[in-house]
């Protein structure tokens, strides 16, 4: 099956094969519908097999499982809240960093860069996507952490007198924390968000852009007035894919997060995430502990569903608000 391009010649009027063509059309419709349904089938199977496996641990104490803050496998205490918290915190950090940066890169490529330098920048971003996550984790844990630890400590000292901020950036003795994990996740999300944002920006009608310039807008005003409103929906879609990657990332996070069981406001404290804890503990687990780890996967699944629905609502509302924006 050819996928990226079909060897078909450009469409020709084929009057003879009308009936056959109609049948092919039906067959093709069936084929693509089935392909679309594959996602549901696979996801359904994953959900069913994992839920069935996880059920004993969740049913063991469902309230504790979702809201408990203690995770003591030896005593069959399985509270997953700290991991949920860690996943949310690291993903938020990743998104706060990656989305603006990716949009910036995409704008640079589409609006600012020369045609020639454009290629190089695209290559840089694509190269970033080729780095395996385990390598990000290794470089992070061996090289990055000794560098950032003093920076964090310096920053925490700087923030100490400022109420609010001093709780978020508090003293630390290590670079293995939420913040480092979030930064590494951000780097890992940049390629996919950039790649899609770039394509989205490319769809902004040239007329809109020229119109903005004709009205005397600067480049920034053109971007603000013509490009961003037009692209809002697509950008949210791009960010969602990035978020999905951030929440599901395992090895890179496991290597730099520090693996501790805390819920605190301090981003410079070690923590853990749902995906990372599954990978860390799965090998040595057995019995209900294994089931609880799989249960974390099921909960993570439920959360992604929730976040996706929220994001879609945001897109719909925003698109109604921004007149003329359609995608």
């Amino acid at each position: 099956m050819t996928t990226t391009a079909s060897p078909e010649s450009p469409p020709q009027v084929d009057l003879g094969g009308e009936a056959r063509s109609r049948r092919t059309d039906k067959g093709f419709t069936g084929l693509v519908t089935f392909a679309g349904l594959t996602v549901l089938i696979v996801l359904g199977l994953i959900l069913v097999t994992t839920s069935v496996q996880a059920w004993p641990a969740i049913a063991h104490d469902p309230i504790e499982f979702l809201t408990g803050t203690d995770w003591v496998p030896g005593d069959e205490i399985f509270g997953t809240l700290p991991f949920l918290y860690g996943t949310l915190v690291t993903s938020v950090i990743a998104m706060v960093v990656a989305v603006p940066v990716s949009i910036g890169i995409a704008l640079f490529i589409t609006e600012v860069a020369h045609r020639r330098s454009r290629k190089y920048i695209v290559t840089i971003v694509d190269l970033l996507a080729t780095v395996p996550s385990v390598v990000f984790g290794l470089v992070g844990s061996i090289v990055l952490i000794p560098w950032v630890t003093p920076i964090y400590q310096w920053w925490a000292g700087l923030m100490a007198p400022i109420p609010g901020l001093n709780a978020i950036f508090d003293e630390t003795n290590t670079g293995r924390n939420y913040f480092t994990a979030g930064l590494i996740l951000a780097v890992m999300c940049i390629p996919i968000i950039t790649s899609i944002s770039r394509e989205v920006f490319a769809t902004v009608p040239e007329i809109d852009k020229q119109g903005a310039y004709a009205l005397g807008a600067t480049r920034w005003e053109m971007i603000k007035g013509a490009i961003l409103p037009h692209s809002f929906g697509g950008l949210v879609g791009a960010s969602m894919l990035g978020l999905g990657r951030a929440m599901g990332e395992t090895i890179a996070v496991a290597l730099v997060i520090g693996g501790s069981l805390t819920i605190g406001t301090n981003l410079f404290e070690p923590g853990n995430t749902m995906a990372a804890v599954i990978a860390q503990q799965f090998g040595e687990s057995s019995g209900m502990h294994t089931e609880a780890l799989i249960g974390i996967g099921v909960v993570l699944f439920a959360i992604t569903v929730l976040i996706n629905f929220l994001a879609r609502t945001v897109v719909r509302r925003a698109e109604i608000k921004m007149k003329g924006a359609h995608s």
């Binding site: 003591v72 496998p73 844990s141 070690p270 503990q281 799965f282 090998g283 040595e284 687990s285």
Partner: protein, 351 residues
């Protein structure tokens, strides 16, 4: 049990050999590698990551002895190794812990074979301070966050003449579930009154402690963080040049984590009928108190005689010539009595 695809392939390539092995199976006693024909084919094991470095070295050395039998050992973790064993996905499993209900393997379907043991070092990063001596209660208090600075009187009490800085103590621990954590916390739990955090493959460490992935991760944390203390296996501590503390043993003397002190601990340990044993805090003046055992699980019945012969040959190698490789890799060989018991059990399990 399901039919193994792998075993089919193995049988096709070496059916004839299987027959001959079955014929001479009774004859190979202590040293199967030495007499009779060698088995060919492929056997796979999976499980504990703790003895991985030793098994990897032994597998390479064994490939020199018998290049026809390809042995793989995949360090997926004891828990996964045991559940794969229960599913019949591997031919033998490595495990740091004993089989419990719900682990996978059915009762009576497996045999423990102890292979090697290794000390768990207490390594720390305190520039200028070597050879710290830590007693058991103090060790527990350090790792549960009750002692927070290095110049605490409890540490000073056992280190007369050593100038201790007021550096804050940072606990480094394993972020992944591990038999090392299990054995270390089990030791603290059994040996000390102070320890309150329980024992297990992973426990809740005090706030502010740092987790590293695998032994190498913990070693990295310790080297990166001044004032850090953590538990690391001997191979990693030696390779990364960590400073190790002397730990008080059951007789009250302070012992460095060495292989001799480990073998001494094994000699002092009581071996159960199923060959499981607990070398933690063993008696004896020269024993190191924190020693982790590791086992191989054998099926009591193999569908494929060729695989059975292969497993027997390889495990026998581990217990005989392979023991010499252990020390080069910072693992302690079994004392002779226990080793002989293990060989006997192997011969009994796989006839």
């Amino acid at each position: 049990m399901k039919l193994n695809r792998r075993t089919i392939f193995g049988t096709i390539t070496a059916g004839a050999l299987a027959m001959s092995m079955a014929a001479c199976g009774g004859g190979s006693d202590d040293d199967a590698a030495g007499d009779g024909e060698l088995v060919s084919g492929e056997i796979t094991g999976s499980g504990a990551s703790f003895p991985d470095a030793f098994y990897a070295a032994a597998i390479e050395a064994y490939a020199e002895v018998n290049p026809e039998l390809i042995v793989t050992y995949n360090a997926v973790g004891s828990g996964t190794g045991k559940s794969e064993f229960g599913e019949g996905l591997n031919d033998f499993a490595g495990s740091d812990s004993l089989v419990k209900d719900g682990d996978g393997p059915a009762e009576g379907s497996f045999q423990y074979i102890p292979t090697v043991a290794a000390p768990i070092t207490i390594s720390y990063n305190l520039p200028g301070v070597d050879g710290l001596q830590i007693d058991q209660e103090t060790l527990a208090n350090i790792f549960q966050g009750a002692i927070t600075t290095w110049n605490d009187p409890a540490i000073a009490a056992t280190n007369e003449g050593v100038e201790l800085p007021d550096t804050a103590i940072t606990i480094a621990h394993r972020s992944d579930g591990s038999g090392t954590t299990s054995n270390f916390t089990k030791f603290l739990d059994e040996a000390t009154d102070a320890w309150t955090l329980g024992a297990g493959d992973e426990i809740t460490w005090p706030e502010g402690s740092i987790g590293g992935e695998k032994n190498t991760g913990v070693a990295t944390v310790i080297t990166q963080t001044e004032g850090a203390i953590g538990y690391v296996d001997l191979a990693d501590a030696t390779e990364t040049g960590l400073v190790t503390a002397s730990i008080e043993n059951a007789d009250g003397s302070f012992i460095q984590p060495t292989l001799e002190a480990t073998t001494a601990a094994l000699e002092g340990a009581e071996v159960a009928e199923d060959l499981s044993y607990n070398p933690l805090n063993a008696a004896g003046a020269e024993t190191y108190p924190i020693v982790a055992p590791t086992y191989i699980l054998l099926h009591t019945e193999y569908e494929d005689e060729n695989v059975a012969a292969g497993v027997k040959e390889f495990v026998n190698y581990l217990l005989t010539d392979g023991q010499d490789i252990a020390e080069d890799n910072s693992f302690a060989p079994l004392p002779d009595a226990l080793r002989q018991q293990a060989v006997d059990a192997l011969n009994e399990t796989i006839a």
